[in-house]
């Protein structure tokens, strides 16, 4: 990466310095993504490191996902009840909550939490390795850092975010059930039967697909920001911050696009 940006620096400006810098960043990001995909098929596969990263991304995010999912379920149920009660439709609560959680809330909430927690962690870790020359040390000892540092983390986020999303949805439903049970004395079996009545495999499939896209986005953005960090400890902080901000920004844009595509798919 150093060599690429380095060559570019010596060139005269094509447009203004800012516009040039923007295109150079886009170019460097595209090259980074292509190098990531190439590293996926290169041996040896870092299976142990992938599993370690899955543990870091998945298991270590569980407490936060559990809390957020549970609170989201309860709060969303409490906020929705008065509106439904106005039309005498409180019995629709399980269906409404299940649809909302699986189609929108769980994928988005999980992705945003992971962007904050996992994205900043990866950005800071790789940024710190970059500025202390640990990544350079890997390169000169003939170890491909794209394979060991980037591919392992992106694979971990891409696989673990969908799993965390399904877990978040289940915990959210559990939170919702607690509130529904407290008010309407609905049994767990009835709650879930009614909830899943309106849910199809397409809903679950698209939710998982969305989470895969979000997980990949978090991983690739955070590793890119960390990998290209500069300017010492200040750069590490900036890399961690940029990893979160850019991931969240990208997630919101992807959410809008995917929802639009799902809408077309349903009407078709």
């Amino acid at each position: 990466m150093g060599a690429i940006s380095d060559r570019a620096e010596a060139r005269p400006h094509l447009f203004t310095p800012d516009i040039d810098a923007f295109f150079l960043t886009v170019h460097s990001a595209v090259v980074f993504v292509l190098r990531f995909f190439r590293s996926l098929v290169q041996r040896p596969f870092e299976v142990r490191e992938i599993l370690r990263q899955c543990y870091e991304v998945g298991c270590r995010s569980l407490p936060l996902i559990t809390l957020t999912g549970f609170v989201t379920g309860i709060v969303f149920t409490k906020q929705s009840r008065p509106s439904l009660a106005t039309f005498g439709a409180s019995s629709w609560l399980p269906s409404l909550i299940t649809i909302a959680l699986l189609r929108a809330l769980a994928p988005l909430v999980t992705a945003l939490i992971c962007a904050g927690k996992v994205g900043s962690n990866i950005g800071a870790e790789l940024g710190s390795m970059r500025v202390t020359e640990q990544i350079d040390a890997m390169e000169v000892s003939a170890v491909n850092p794209m394979r060991y540092l980037v591919a392992t983390r992106v694979i971990a986020t891409t696989t673990m975010v969908p799993i965390l999303m399904l877990y978040c949805a289940m915990i959210g439903l559990l939170g919702s059930y607690v509130d529904v049970h407290a008010h309407e004395l609905t049994s767990l079996r009835t709650f879930f039967r009614e909830g899943f009545q309106e849910i199809s495999f397409i809903d679950a499939g698209f939710a998982v697909f969305k989470s895969i896209v979000f997980g990949f986005t978090i991983g690739i953005t955070a590793t890119y920001k960390g990998f290209t960090a500069t300017n010492g400890t200040e750069g590490v902080g900036r890399a961690a911050n940029a990893a979160v901000v850019f991931s969240m920004f990208a997630i919101f844009i992807e959410e809008v696009i995917i929802v639009q595509i799902i809408g077309w798919f349903r009407s078709w």
């Binding site: 060599a3 640990q134 350079d136 040390a137 000169v140």
Partner: protein, 247 residues
């Protein structure tokens, strides 16, 4: 005498700043070449270009008969297995123990080693730098001098033909610096390596260098043995000497 590194008309700039302005350099087999120069003179840039971490603007950089800037990723990795690079701040992987730091490049570059063979190679490298007892320590628990030694051990584990030392004595006290200088000489004798030592420490240059090259204003201005280089009346070289030895 056989050359393991050949550099001709090497130019390198960062934006408007011209760092290297047409450098020529030869590293002979099994010699220690010291590149002296002030901070920011482009010494580290030079060895990063040799290791393929930076691309030159123009010029020839040939390492062990291969043009570094023309190599694809695969051949470059093969070449890098024959190079050892000690970074200024050692660049030990701080999430790994000393043992893991040494095993990391070994298991990825020398496949099919048994656990016993890996252990033997790790112990051999640590014994070469006199730090066998630190095998299970974490980098954060090591002193600056120990970190340098472990950094050297990590490069030695792949049995390189060329060693590149970036400021090996920077930030160390005089006694530890002397120990590192002795170690650099010992590595050359024991492993028959050829080395480029980047430094601004004249004590290091005098102790380790078979030949000295003085980098001034992006070019090598004076080259030869230590006494030969500092016999010059060039004010910039005299100042460098006086500052190091008379303060």
């Amino acid at each position: 005498m056989e050359d393991v590194i050949t550099i001709r008309r090497l130019f390198k700039s960062f934006g408007a700043q011209k760092v290297l302005r047409g450098i020529d350099l030869d590293l002979h087999k099994t010699e220690n070449l010291v590149v002296l120069g002030r901070s920011g003179s482009g010494k580290s840039v030079l060895i990063k270009i040799i290791a393929g971490l930076l691309a030159p603007d123009s010029g020839l950089v040939e390492v062990l008969g291969q043009k570094v800037d023309e190599l694809e990723e695969g051949p470059l990795q093969v070449l890098r297995r024959r190079l050892g690079f000690l970074f200024q701040h050692s660049a030990l992987y701080d999430s790994m123990s000393v043992r893991e730091n040494l095993e990391f490049p070994l298991v990825r570059n020398v496949p099919n080693l048994t656990t016993q063979e890996i252990d033997a190679r790790v112990v051999e490298a640590l014994e070469a730098v006199g730090l066998r007892q630190a095998i299970d320590q974490m980098p954060a628990e090591l002193s600056g001098g120990m970190r340098k030694r472990i950094g050297i051990a990590r490069t030695l584990i792949l049995r390189p033909e060329i060693m590149l030392y970036d400021e090996p004595t920077a930030g160390l006290d005089p006694i530890t610096s002397t120990e590192i200088n002795n170690l650099i000489n010992q590595v050359r004798e024991q492993f028959a390596t050829s080395s480029i030592i980047i430094t601004h420490d004249l004590a290091c240059a005098r102790m380790t260098g078979n030949r000295i090259a003085m980098l001034l204003d992006g070019e090598f201005q004076h080259e030869g043995e230590f006494a030969e280089v500092f016999a010059t009346q060039d004010r910039r070289v005299r100042d460098f000497y006086d500052y190091n030895f008379t303060g």
